[in-house]
Symmetry: C3
Subunit: 262 residues, 3 copies
Amino acid sequence: MKFNNRNVHISATATIGKNVRIGDNTTIYDNVVIGDNVTICNDCVLGEPTSAYYQNEESYVNKPTYIGTGAFIRSHCIIYAGTSLGEGCITGHRVTIRENTIAGKHCLISTLVDIQGNCKIGDYSRIYSNVHIGEQTVIGNYVFIYPYTIFTNDPQPPSTTLSGAHVDDYSIITIHCKVLPGVRVGKHCLVGANSVISRDIEEYSFAMGAPAKRIRDIREIPSKMDNTESYYPWPYHFERGMPWQGIGYDKWVEDRGVADNG
Amino acid sequence: MKFNNRNVHISATATIGKNVRIGDNTTIYDNVVIGDNVTICNDCVLGEPTSAYYQNEESYVNKPTYIGTGAFIRSHCIIYAGTSLGEGCITGHRVTIRENTIAGKHCLISTLVDIQGNCKIGDYSRIYSNVHIGEQTVIGNYVFIYPYTIFTNDPQPPSTTLSGAHVDDYSIITIHCKVLPGVRVGKHCLVGANSVISRDIEEYSFAMGAPAKRIRDIREIPSKMDNTESYYPWPYHFERGMPWQGIGYDKWVEDRGVADNG
Amino acid sequence: MKFNNRNVHISATATIGKNVRIGDNTTIYDNVVIGDNVTICNDCVLGEPTSAYYQNEESYVNKPTYIGTGAFIRSHCIIYAGTSLGEGCITGHRVTIRENTIAGKHCLISTLVDIQGNCKIGDYSRIYSNVHIGEQTVIGNYVFIYPYTIFTNDPQPPSTTLSGAHVDDYSIITIHCKVLPGVRVGKHCLVGANSVISRDIEEYSFAMGAPAKRIRDIREIPSKMDNTESYYPWPYHFERGMPWQGIGYDKWVEDRGVADNG
């Protein structure tokens, strides 16, 4: 139904892998590199040019845009030149990712997410619907960001300073949070709904409020699932789509030989 | 201006009623059923296939999608297969409704609303701009949900459990509220701006805060309109587009023979 | 890359200035007036007809829509008939502006902003991503509205009363604020993240909270930039894109002969 090559325009300088599907009404601009087994749905724009293009169309050169092997881009996404999505990344609809953002492998970037450019997102992280990520934000691996959370970057608005926030591996920031410029959320944190994260949060914290404060250690949060043990660190209880799926988190850590015990 | 049959693609298996207008650049996929007197504006996608389609295009069968008589779908909407919008429903622009959601008749679903699928929405309910509705949410009849409110469904993120919230008839949830998994908001409630609804709210409550608590009975809220009587239950004071328009709420209830006294 | 005249449709009654670029898949409806040196990117809709069009296509006349000299409209915007964007305005992607909204010159209206119609926005104001502006809101000059802030207009929902808020010149409303119907934010205010603005805020206030209350005078907020002086009023410290760029705010005020000393 979707792949009829109607109103599809692909630059002669784009590189398209094997077994790639490109939906109707999609445009792929110069120097986009698409890996094998990628699906780009309808009405997408890949390699969207940066502002410099409009100033001088003749001399402008579009930076390369990479879409990794097996990625799946739903309809109506706009991905700028200079951005790279790793192997197996999945997007929702109407995602906008500005220039020079690097997302790792197997990330999920859901419907209406707006990433402003020059950001880093690690592997296996999930950015849910309508999250707004300001420039220079850095998000680690296995991180979950829930709907309508915002990452800001201007420490004293309006200014020309850009100071992105950092979220370390395995942390969860739930819905409608406000992450203020330059703060760092340590690894394995859980931040409650509607929090204003205005100061650094140490690792393994369950934090909430405005300003968000550490309430307790995440390992002390009882499980709502079975009432017997703590649910956190979550990798011991959740594996769908994670690299430890089918083998368990402990075994995966052991196999990697990494000194990261969750 | 809008209906020139340019770049319009309609599946041979779609069923189109009488007096239907379909805007330019709109695509209608397999097994969409459109009632009489429907307007679908430009750049829409109806019957968007589910994930299974991409796994096997050959064997995939698109579930029927229903657009009721007299419905009006504004531009740039994406409505998935298996979803049904009742008679007289109206949407804003850029609405996304995933699979198997059933909306009743005469609902309003405004610009940028994102409904994640497997939801139920009753009759005459109004979902305003940029509301996000997680899977398995159930919204009753004559309900108002105001902009940027979110319905979540994961009781302990990240988990694979889905527990949608319920909002009963005649309730109003104002802007920027966070409705947590599995909670129930009783009928005729009013929830103030920016609340976190983390526990059930009993019927006829005016509630607010984080967590949202009952402040008083809605029937004790003075009217801002005339300073003489309570504004709530609102059906006695508001009728535009409601089934009691022109006859009044009491008469309508009496005519229906329903033991629902507002 | 963008301007190939593919699937571009321009009404015979539109007026297009000199040196105008119009992107692929863009539609320009009746009576749109585009100034010189304007760029309209791809997949835009300008002069979107109002509801009356659908009721009687034959008799409907589209109100004029104005796009000022040098404006730059990014892709996927929908701008309704009767709306006017001043000279040098810039938009992000997927902006929706309904009918009869008047924006002054050199405004920025970022990605996913949703302006509901019949609003006024002054000169040089910046509306950042995903701001929602209800009908009849009035925003002054040199105002900054940060992401996910909402302007509402219904004093007792649901009602048929529309009471827009006002934000006076030079004020800043930061992220995730809720501006309630009919309130007025005086000039040179700064409102902190996540505030609920339910009462008027007097000029030069730094306010925050729910409800937002004056915490102190903005002139008492220390600068985070150099720790020596107050950062506010901001025009003394920020000039990028402002009319006082290169000459300083004091000199600009003096040159204008305006008794506004910031």
